[in-house]
Symmetry: C2
Subunit: 445 residues, 2 copies
């Protein structure tokens, strides 16, 4: 960058053509999947009334909200009345409350759009970033979990994410687990937060935190962690949960989801993970996380959250959703972007007289659906214009100087082979359209 003053604001990014096209292609693939599932797009404003957002994200979250100063005579008060949206879920709750029965029931919606958080910008962390959510509001059917999980998995496939695994658990199963192992009810919540660290910390460290930090009996903590980290943890957990009402109900939720979604997703890509906790305490039923090789943490996550819409200011409706970490996914996918624009035909301009002819030809090419550009620089040198055509990634260049005009032809140059051919002016359009179609064919085959 020439100077810091021209950089985008801290934590935000400019997207030039190559990167922007890569992002848009990913989003379009995702949208295509959601549309085939019958999810409807929703777009809410960038900012909401301040009171719509505050108090919804906890104390830490509230601090990260970008607030907008009042305007005009009120600006001097230094008060804010609006705020940039922090996620796509609070706006969803507001829309469900506002439109009520005018929305389909259940309301299946997807949203892909920027959110803003005043986080300390760091490696791979941004203050403006895109979220991609798919949610169903208004149905308690277990088919909802299956639909949402299958839609998310198909979207990951469409984006080109490979080798991922969907880990499934249930809040009810976790509650049952606490009961079975004799964790006192008032310690269950914090114990689960510690157990969630089993994928990062050594088992002994987790036991220590459970005992010293959370106040669990040492024997309880040890048997819980031993069983959860055993090679046959799934077998042990299934056995343990079967002896408890909440445990059985939770297992049934997990198994129903595996049964419904497994055949579509591939049974090897989705499995019960008894130690999956998910930090957020608003989940009420099945929960899941998607992991991919080489990625610490999850690239997507979701679950059933039956009372969150009400807590966010909407009506009390059952709901279930899946959020895909598209910024993270964009980061792990092949770095190759589309690079420079690639165009079909570059039309050179050797003198004033050829301009009119060039504009006429190029209009026809574009009407035929080709990407075509005319040289807009100041040079009248052939070599310079040819370099421009090459820089633009042109497949063909069209040259028309005095000698061509005298003969009523244009020269068509194949920019890959360097072969040149003289074509009558009247046939140039069809000639180029045909050759571009032929060149394009191998890609489509």
């Amino acid at each position: 960058m020439a100077s810091k003053q021209f950089e985008p604001a801290s934590g935000t990014r400019d997207f030039l053509a190559g990167e922007l096209r890569r992002r848009e292609r990913l989003f379009a693939a995702t949208r295509g999947v959601f549309e085939r599932y019958g999810f409807e797009p929703l777009q809410t404003p960038a900012f909401e009334r301040l009171e719509t957002l505050t108090g919804k994200y906890g104390d830490e979250g509230d601090k990260l909200i970008f607030k907008i100063l009042r305007r005009g005579e009120h600006e001097a008060t230094g008060e804010a009345d609006l705020a940039l949206r922090y996620d796509l879920t609070v706006p969803l709750a507001r829309v469900v409350a506002a439109y009520g029965s005018r929305l389909p029931s259940p309301y299946k919606r997807y949203a892909i759009g920027p959110v803003w958080r005043a986080d300390r910008p760091g490696k791979g962390r941004f203050r403006e970033f895109t979220q991609c959510d798919v949610d169903v509001v208004g149905s308690a059917s277990p088919l909802v979990e299956a639909e949402v999980v299958c839609a998310g998995a198909d979207a990951l496939d469409a984006m080109g994410v490979t080798g991922y695994t969907i880990l499934v658990n249930s809040r009810q199963a976790l509650n049952g687990l606490m009961e079975v192992y004799g964790v006192p009810t008032d310690l269950a919540g914090v114990a689960l937060i510690t157990l969630d660290k089993l994928d990062k910390l050594a088992p002994a460290q987790v036991v220590a935190e459970l005992v010293q930090g959370r106040g669990l009996a040492e024997a309880t903590a040890r048997s819980l962690v031993d069983d959860l980290t055993a090679d046959d943890a799934v077998v042990r957990m299934r056995k343990a949960l079967a002896g408890n009402d909440a445990g059985r109900a939770g297992l049934a939720e997990v198994d129903r989801l595996l049964e419904l979604a497994g055949p579509h997703i591939g049974p090897e890509r989705i499995r019960f993970a008894p130690n999956l906790v998910r930090g957020l305490d608003y989940y009420t039923g099945a929960i899941w996380e998607v992991t991919a090789p080489g990625m610490p943490g999850a690239i997507a996550s979701g679950g059933r959250y039956d009372h969150l819409i009400e807590a966010l200011g909407g009506p009390d409706l059952p709901a279930c959703g899946f959020s895909l970490g598209v910024e993270r996914i964009l980061g792990i996918l092949e770095e190759a972007d589309d690079g420079a624009t690639v165009i079909d035909v570059a039309v050179t301009v050797m003198d004033e007289e050829s301009s009119t002819e060039a504009v006429r030809l190029i209009g026809g090419l574009r009407r035929a659906g080709l990407t075509a550009e005319v040289y807009l620089g100041g040079s009248r040198k052939f070599a310079k214009q040819l370099k421009w055509a090459s820089d633009r990634g042109a497949r063909f260049a069209v040259l028309s100087g005095p000698s061509e005009r005298a003969e009523g032809v244009v020269t068509v140059r194949d920019m890959t082979s360097g072969d040149q051919e003289r074509v009558p002016v009247g046939e140039a359009l069809t000639h180029l359209a045909d050759r571009c179609a032929m060149k394009a064919a191998p890609d489509n085959a």
Copy 2:
């Protein structure tokens, strides 16, 4: 709306599926045109550093900037350090300054995205609205004007705007006009602002304002307005401008644009309009405005602005752009939106056992590219689920109850005719894919 508290913030809108799809289709058509012209997409952040924006839009503009409060310990100062972008041109100037030679030269970019202005919201005026700009930075060639005008016209065509006219003038021609009619140099600027009102006010009112408000001699004002509003105004103006250096240069700019762009756009859709002024004083060359029948004011406008990029903080590069008033265009186009989602297949669920089969079938339908939904509601009544299928606009419904299962079939109902057919389970997928393809065919023909 249930309650004002759930409405979007003043001047902003929620876009539900129908309207959002209509908007996106319009933007996609526009993008397609710009891409064929070799314009590259650019996306800049929603907010910029406050100092990047202030002082760029005049005093009135500055008041309309949404400012973002500083955060953390600085929040109490009541100061702002960031601001929502007010247009797409200042961010373009910043990007040109920041990336310099890493951008193609000339830099042909398009941008379609929201901007925010703290205007008093009114009928058809919003605080969050989409702008659609196409600009070329770094070339003084008259081919640039032709490219930009043709791209804009093709985009209007692609959006479905009909019957529009592109009115062309030139700042140089206007300067020449002032000289020819003897308007003192220091009054020329304000006199032009008044002349711009000739499309709204009666000629006598414009004369009065020129004399009383602007201080022109009455004879000067009268002859200027008489000539500009005469039936043969174009002839009179061409004659007048020919007698003056600036006038001749301006006419040459206009004629070159008509000559280059006319054949592509259709000569009847673009013409010299000697009384076109355009309020903004940053234009330096050709200027234009697009009018459509029944619309007061312009639906799109643009021109050459050779020193604006520098004034906005970028390098001093020639530039030229066209801005399409997409919100206005969305307002005048057919009001019909896409309405409710229309899906290919609705799969009903009569009992627990049919759920698994339903999910399997629907997965196959979606893989085949069809839009398919499964019933997620709580009712097990046939009539209720059929109503759901109808509400979703389904072409076909699939029914599978105990009697179907006993025979190894599903019932496929044509939702238009009401005809039902029993199809073996194993053939349901191909049967539905074929029938949907047949139903779709007439639309594609």
